[in-house]
Amino acid sequence: MTHSAASPHPSHPEQALDTADRVVGSDLTARSVAFDAEEQGALAALGVEGEVVVGRQASLWGDAWRRLVRNRLAVIGMIVVVTFIVLAILAPLLAPYDESEVVDVRLARYHPSWTWPLGLDRNGRDIFSRLLYGARVSLMVGVVSYIIVLAIAIPIGSLAGYYGGFVDNVLMRGVDIIFTIPQVLLVLMVVNWRGPGLTNIFLAIGLIGWVTEARLIRGQMLLLREQEYVKASRVAGAKAPYIIFRHLLPNSLTPIIVAATFGIPAAIFTEAAISFVGVGIRPPQASWGQMVGEASRPSDIQTDPHMLIFPVIAIGLTMLGFTFLGDGLRDALDPKGNE
């Protein structure tokens, strides 16, 4: 066991159990963490507390980047994700039509052709343009909801992890309770309460999604606060906020980044799922999930499958891209995976 290797992704047995609760899709972290936990146990048995961090920050990121681009799947994932982001940002420039613009109502359900490469939907709107605008919605949901998630999770996770004791107990019991209800159901309920629309979807995903990340950050804090350099800092008279912002959070950055590469697609998926069942984004605004929902009437699937195929592929491809990238990032940032 090479405990002297730099590990920016240390773990804690309790966190392993916590993160193991994550549902499919974002459960990668769970897996890596669960194994880390075993190693951690072994370390504890050897009387080694925590892990020693060697090397400068710059070389860590440099190494990570080199490892990332050597991983073929991660590069594919990166290309998919970058393409998705660029298309989403440039949507208004690239799209031949507006998202709600009806090209020609008499040509509704027109199959793919040279004029309209992906065809027209049931209302005669250009599917290609709607997909581009849908990417915009997905990207915004991913980014904005995740910012809300972090804005809630970082303070709560830090406080619970750093102070422990009563605060920790109360917060984590609350988190446990929220965890019992499937997250998508809660998001559905919150959107139902706040009404449809993009802002409410941000809010709903943010208000529900912080739970997982708060647990992760708490686990990090629990582990890091026992490290020598943190003790040294405390002995030298540093106050809690200084220690949290100067030492604990920067050292939790890599697991947070890895969690983000799974949290962002999870948010994108959640929006697609709730829009698919008709609770999220309402037409004529375009969203991939809503396009799937609209095109999925049994009679339409037989006669006009093109309305369904393209948004389904768009969601699938985006999820795949993020997973490849996330897998690669985790391996690249975790030197233990370095053969």
Partner: protein, 312 residues
């Protein structure tokens, strides 16, 4: 162990109460009562007041919460606003077995196939089986289940019949085995892939361990090494995944039921969302929550029994 089991079971009660409270409060905050769209059907404010009184909506919130908990304990979840005069209890009694059947089949498929694939991949590490299962696992487990469902529908109901191949699988309804296969696959795909990957890496960890090296060194047959030493120890951590897998399957069934038009709880849940059928929403959320909490409880206790290293 017994103490742990009791302690863990007692936590069940506050968890359930908390869960009920969270759901109840969100539902109370949700504007609009089922009686408000009144202009068209000519309901007067007095009638609304009478109706609200009849359903107990005019009492203060804590009283309603207490009453709700009290009634739910007697499995009385009230009358569905949407399907009046049907009781929520009866709708759930009808739809829950369908969801349960779908979920059980999907879990069984995921566990059996996922674990076997993982074991086979680890034993033939870097072989053909390994390569195929790792690649398909990564494709499957990033695919949302409703996307998976539609890909299956497009393949088996559009693409194959278009080429003159019809293997007789149906994509809508829940009548018999021909309807069951595709939804089960759609729901099982992601957990199956997760289990396969997890089992594989767990196996490889154990294969590299010292006691397995010792077992080989003393001349044990490879078959015996795998069956007696590797498998037993490698599958223990996999058990922790069963809880999250139940959760994934349960949540996933909401969307898969929608995709394949299956009259399970998920389909009713989505409809109740759209019609503000509060008793239905509350009851379905609660039953899912109880079910998942119960499963997690069992998995936790089972884990303690299986792994003698764990002491509570």
């Amino acid at each position: 162990m017994l103490r742990y089991a009791i302690h863990r079971s007692l936590w069940f009660i506050p968890t359930l109460l908390g869960m009920t409270a969270v759901t109840f409060i969100i539902m109370q905050l949700t504007p609009g009562s089922p009686f408000s769209p009144s202009a068209a059907n000519g309901i007067t404010p007095e009638m609304i007041a009478a109706l609200e009184h009849k359903y107990g909506l005019d009492k203060p919130i804590y009283e309603r919460f207490g009453l709700y908990v009290w009634h739910s304990l007697q499995s009385d979840f009230g009358v569905s606003y949407q399907y009046r005069p049907q009781e929520v209890r009866d709708i759930i009694a009808r739809s829950f077995p369908i969801s349960l059947q779908l979920g059980t089949m999907a879990t069984a498929l995921a566990v059996l196939v996922g674990m076997s694939l993982g074991v086979m991949a680890a034993v033939n590490q870097n072989g053909v089986v390994d390569y195929i299962s790792v690649t398909s696992a990564i494709l499957f487990y990033s695919m949302p289940n409703f996307v998976m469902g539609f890909l299956l529908i497009l393949t088996f109901a559009v693409w194959l019949p278009h080429h003159g191949i019809d293997i007789g699988l149906r994509v809508s309804g829940w009548e018999g085995p021909r309807d069951w296969i595709l939804p089960t696959i759609a729901l099982a795909a992601a957990p199956l892939a997760t289990l396969a990957r997890y089992t594989r890496s767990s196996m490889i960890d154990v294969i590299r361990s010292d006691y397995v090296r010792t077992a080989r060194a003393k001349g044990l047959a490879e078959r015996k090494v795998v069956l007696k030493h590797v498998l037993k120890n490698a599958l223990i951590p996999v058990v922790t995944l069963i809880g999250p897998i139940f959760a994934a399957v349960a949540t996933g069934s909401f969307f898969v039921e929608q995709v394949f038009n299956i009259p399970g709880m998920g389909k009713y849940y989505v409809q109740s969302m759209q019609t503000k059928d509060q008793p239905m929403i509350l009851a379905v959320t609660l039953i899912f929550g109880i079910f998942l909490a119960l499963m997690n409880l069992l998995v936790d206790i089972a884990y303690g029994l299986i792994d003698p290293r764990i002491r509570y």
